[in-house]
């Protein structure tokens, strides 16, 4: 039996900055129920969670970033 990978920090490359850090943080809080810190730059979004998040839960955020900002996760720590 193997435990699911968990992440504290993730990063995405994005093609547009259609969402602000506040909007992404609110989405994470509402949909994933976890507090976090979000930084949005012209080509990159960084998210740091207050506690470890399972890989399965990150899929919700991956889809959101992909749809809203044409983003792709490139870093998972």
């Amino acid at each position: 039996m193997t435990s699911e990978k968990r992440a504290y920090r993730i990063e995405y490359t994005v093609k547009n900055t259609g969402r602000t850090a506040d909007e992404i943080r609110k989405f994470i809080k509402d949909k994933m129920g976890i507090e976090c810190f979000v930084a949005v730059h012209p080509n990159r979004v960084k998210v740091a969670f207050s506690s470890a998040v399972p890989e399965s839960a990150l899929k919700i955020l991956d889809e959101y970033i992909s749809e809203q900002m044409e983003g792709k996760r490139i870093v998972t720590l």
Binding site: A21, D22, A39, V40, A48
Partner: protein, 289 residues
């Protein structure tokens, strides 16, 4: 022949008178001279010499040979010109300051209620007697709380304000990795005050809400946003082109960041807008929320 004779009754009467002279003339002389055997000549000489001496003293008091003026001269001068008052302040001898002026000044001191010093004394005498201190807490009126107690408490607070405690309490890193400090004066003593923390991100590496990114500023304004806002931000222009930034809004006042300089911002920053006048440069953004 005719004889002259004295009447015997008369003669006897005269002899009776002579019989009353019971001392000699020499004794009488000595008695008049007294024990000092002073003659009238001696007395006259003494009086004459004393009169001369005393008169000379009196004369020196009534007439001063130095200025050639007698008491009469001075009295005459006073009568004619008045007396100069040289040791009083100007306001006293100033002809415009009258007793009315003094009276008005005194009235001003007494105030509208015309309180005298006696009134004030009476009021002060009553303090502590009839005036109760009911509105102060017990510790204030307690005889066990002395000024020494208060000083001890103040010293305790003062010690807690020591700069070493500040670093420990605010929790910026471990208090040992501040690479650069600004010297200053705290509570009258020289101390190292936190000024710049170049290794801020490393110091905060144990937390989660930190940010360290490089972005490109060009002639088209771009932005970065943070949620929650960064409490401390350090923006360094690492390129050789001057940059302009705005904080927390695209219409905020532009702040220049010349090439190879930086800004440390000590208030919440939720967004940074950056642009250049020409060319492009790299901005390093560091901070934590």
């Amino acid at each position: 022949m005719i004889f002259d004779y004295l009447d015997q009754k008369y003669l006897k009467n005269q002899l009776d008178k002579l019989s009353n002279l019971n001392i000699s003339l020499a004794d009488l002389r000595d008695a008049i001279r007294g024990s000092g055997a002073k003659t009238l000549t001696d007395i006259v000489d003494t009086i004459t010499s004393q009169v001369d001496t005393k008169t000379s003293v009196i004369d020196s008091r009534l007439y001063n040979s130095g200025d050639g003026k007698s008491v009469y001269d001075h009295l005459k001068t006073i009568a004619e010109t008045g007396v100069g008052i040289t040791n009083f302040p100007n306001w006293f001898t100033n002809s415009t300051v009258t007793t009315d002026t003094l009276n008005n000044t005194i009235a001003g001191l007494k105030g509208g209620d015309s309180r005298t010093l006696t009134d004030i004394y009476d009021k002060l005498s009553n303090i502590g007697g009839s005036v109760g201190i009911d509105n102060f807490p017990d510790w204030f009126t307690s005889s066990t709380v002395t000024t020494d107690t208060l000083k001890s408490s103040i010293d305790s607070i003062y010690n807690k304000l020591d700069i070493a405690n500040w670093i420990g309490k605010v929790g910026i890193g471990d208090g040992t990795n501040v690479a650069s400090v600004i010297s200053g004066t705290l509570a009258g003593s020289s101390a190292n005050l936190i000024g710049v923390a170049p290794d801020l991100v490393k110091m905060y590496a144990g937390g989660t809400n930190y940010e360290e990114s490089t972005v490109t500023a060009s002639t088209t304004e771009s932005s970065s946003s943070f949620s929650p806002p960064l409490k401390f931000v350090k923006i360094t222009n690492e390129g050789d082109v001057d940059a302009l930034i705005r904080l927390n809004g695209s219409s905020a006042t532009q702040i220049p960041i010349p090439a190879y300089t930086g800004k440390a911002i000590l208030f919440p920053v939720s967004a940074i807008y950056y642009v250049t006048s020409s060319g492009s440069t790299t901005l390093r953004i560091e901070g934590f929320a």
